[in-house]
Amino acid sequence: MSKKIKFSRRKFMKFMAKSGLGAAALTSAPMLNHNFLYNSAFAASGKPLIFAAAEALTGNWDPTTHTNLGQLIFESYVFGYLTRCPMKPENPTQLNFELATEATEIDKFTLEFKLRDGVTFHNGKPFGAEDVKATYEYGSQPDRPAQWYPGQVDVEVVDRLTVRIKTEKYGYPAGLFYYLSSFLPILSADDVANPNNAASRPNGTGAFKFVEQDGDNTIMEANENFFMGKPKIPRVQYNFVGDTATRTLGLLSGEYNVTERLEPEQVDTIVANGGFALNQAVSTENKYLWFRCSKPPFNDINMRKAVAHAIDREGLLDILGISGTYTGCHVSPVKFGYTDVEGFPEYNPDKCQEYLAKAGFPKGKGLPELEYITSVGFYPKTKEYGEYITALLNEQGIPVKLSVLELGAWGNKLYDREGGGPGHMIDCGWCTGSPEPDLVIRTHFHSSSKRITGIVDADIDAALDKERNAPSVGEREQILKTEVMPLLVDKMPSVPLFGSVFIHAMANDVKDLYIYPNGMMSAETASIG
């Protein structure tokens, strides 16, 4: 009987001992690195610049297909732009020429760019006027999802290194492309002709070339043929790290050189630890409470104003701490056309009740339950201030249910759809790499775009068209400050809650890495150690 069963107790113990050792050897051998016995836990010098990013990339490299901030950051390494706009507080509208060397306004509808000679794309193709023409005409098509362009555009190729941006046919001034030129990455004309190529791999003229994907890490290497010379940093890694605490721990332990989107308390930990520099700047991003304006109850302006008066924005700033700052209109304080609009609806329960009554819901009676959607895992303190806003609205009799969603589900529900987007209010910021205000206000409040709110309002359309078509920069600024911004505050399609302060933390040995107010980066002259 015992012969039939191969295992005996003794054999079992021997077998377990042997197989345990064998399994340990098998599972660890391929990855075992004997160096671990004496390696320091800290990342050694000479390693690439590793950026721990809060947002994953989209998987589609065509810059016209997304509004993903993480991908904009990646593009700032790989692609070239006609100009760059550092948006420094002392001179927020200063432009630095990159692929362009000169910009001249020929007339109201024609803007001429002289282009830099001797620049090549990463695949070796020389950069020239045909690439600017292809990029701008492709990106400005109404079917392009990113919709960064103020309207369609024609580009005339004057010679190999001169282009003229022409907008007369489409009825708006070409001067708008002055600031936009710092935000529109230039594609190769060949890639524009074959959009699948543009989608499947990035091919720019930037300081770093795309190498490969390694799991959730995107690896770039220094471009030897970069027109300013090969960057000092040999490699850059864009590592998606979803958890804020992990990003902080990784920075503190030397695994990452730079990280972003930190919570205030994590900033305290980093500061207390020492050895790190903080880059703290008012960003181009305002955070908003967006109303679904195309359906009840927020198709009624009185309801929108009632909510605006129920929100204590000073209380929000207390919750945000160093991550937020006051904003007085629908664009960030560092944007062209910013102004503190007089009569901005501040916290005032009496006014809230007055507007509720005007909307036909005195003390909130008769209102259905309203869904307020927010996200966690990307923006700081969204859940905390979401709960605060919900409590304030409930206090006024407005029945609000807060839905806190993870980032994917929230992104799923973000945009307007036919019949109105999901829920009734949604939290989101909007961040662009240019002082150009239309990237926010036209994108969201003009009836041709209305990304999140779904608002269709003839007065807003007229005001936005008027500022876009202004004959000079000075007049445009005047219209923005005295007409458009006050009108948006009056119509209140979204409540600007606060301006975001972007906090990047980096190791002290990272030098000359410039971080733009929207999080994009310039590392062409940066060094480590």
């Binding site: 039939k4 107790r9 075992l32 390696n39 989209t58 998606f240 992990t246 973000l414």
Partner: protein, 326 residues
């Protein structure tokens, strides 16, 4: 012959368990909010396009029909392709509009096989650390149930079982990696990056193993054949290691089967905190992105591993104690 019969019976039972688990996961994914098509094509895509693509992908068919189609793929060894991860390893994210993209998506089996060794390494090391801590404590506590070591074991178990793993992970990373610089822990570059996450998992597992060892040792020590060992001239160590330990191994073995399977689930939070590139981290991102094929594939593989481990444990225990076969 009887053992072979048991083996076949357990395999068949295991297949049923895997099928039921897969069906449950499959159905739940389709019931909970979050349309994967919306995440594939992006938040800005119009509703009619979402519906068109959903129809094409068969996602609007009844769940049993979809499940049948999925199973017919699986039996051919095809776990499908990720909805979100292109073949080049990148991950997508909702909020945009990628309907025109023509990028080859990664195969689920490749994604799992790429990550599984890391998770097995982590779980294996965690189990090893657990055993190293638990054996001496559990045996000592079992031999003298009212002694000082027993109290220490009880205290350690109580502390360990009360510590949340995410908290312990952060504290250990802060102290051991950042303050002392002894071990790296965030991300993965070599084997050393496995040690701290494994310690966190081991802390979770230890209390159960300590308890099982001490209880079975205490029970078996009261048996007549153990008590009479000394009379028969056996040494104390001989009694403990040759008789008590062997007889205590069956409940321990059963527990190890369960614990190893539990570890495969426990790695989810730990891998996320430590940015460890294993199956747990992949699972979190797959769930966040409603990557149905990937979630289903991971669920199927882990439930098959769970079932496989428990079948192996059962067969080994049958071999050790043939009475259990009946």
């Amino acid at each position: 012959m009887h053992l072979a019969g048991q083996f076949v019976r357990r395999i068949l039972q295991g297949v049923v368990v895997v099928l039921i688990t897969t069906f449950l996961i499959f159905s739940i994914l389709r019931i909970v909010p979050g349309d994967p098509v919306r995440l594939i094509v992006g938040g800005m895509a119009p509703d009619n396009l979402v519906e068109e693509i959903a129809q094409k992908m068969g996602l609007r068919d009844p769940i049993p029909v979809q499940f049948g189609r999925y199973l017919s793929q699986v039996v051919q060894g095809d776990l499908g392709n990720s909805y979100q991860r292109p073949k080049n390893g990148m991950m997508g994210q909702g909020g945009d509009f990628n309907a025109n993209m023509d990028v080859e998506m990664a195969e689920v089996s490749d994604l799992i096989l790429e990550r599984l060794p890391y998770t097995l390494q982590l779980a294996g090391l965690a189990l090893l650390i657990s055993l190293i801590i638990s054996f001496p404590l559990g045996i000592s506590a079992g031999l003298k149930p009212k002694g000082f070591i027993s109290k220490i074991a009880f205290f350690i178990s109580s502390v360990f079982v009360s510590i949340p793993n995410f908290w312990l992970g952060i504290v250990l990373a802060l102290f051991i990696t950042i303050k002392l610089g002894l071990l790296p822990s965030i991300g993965y570059q070599n084997f050393a990056y496995t040690i701290l996450p494994a310690i966190v998992l081991a802390v979770e597992t230890c209390p159960f193993i300590i308890r099982t060892i001490s209880v079975s040792f205490a029970e078996i020590s009261q048996e007549y054949f153990i008590k009479s060992g000394k009379v028969r001239g056996l040494t104390r160590n001989g009694v403990i290691y040759r008789h008590t330990l062997r007889n205590a191994s069956i409940p321990l073995l059963n527990l190890l089967g369960i614990q190893l399977s539990t570890l495969l689930g426990g790695v989810i939070v730990v891998e996320y905190i430590f940015d460890y590139p294993g199956l747990g981290q992949l699972t979190i991102y797959a769930v966040l992105q409603r990557d149905f094929p990937l979630i289903q594939g991971i669920a199927m593989v882990t439930s098959a591993l769970y079932v496989g481990l428990n079948i192996a444990v059962d067969l080994i225990t049958y071999s050790i104690d043939p009475r259990l076969e009946s």
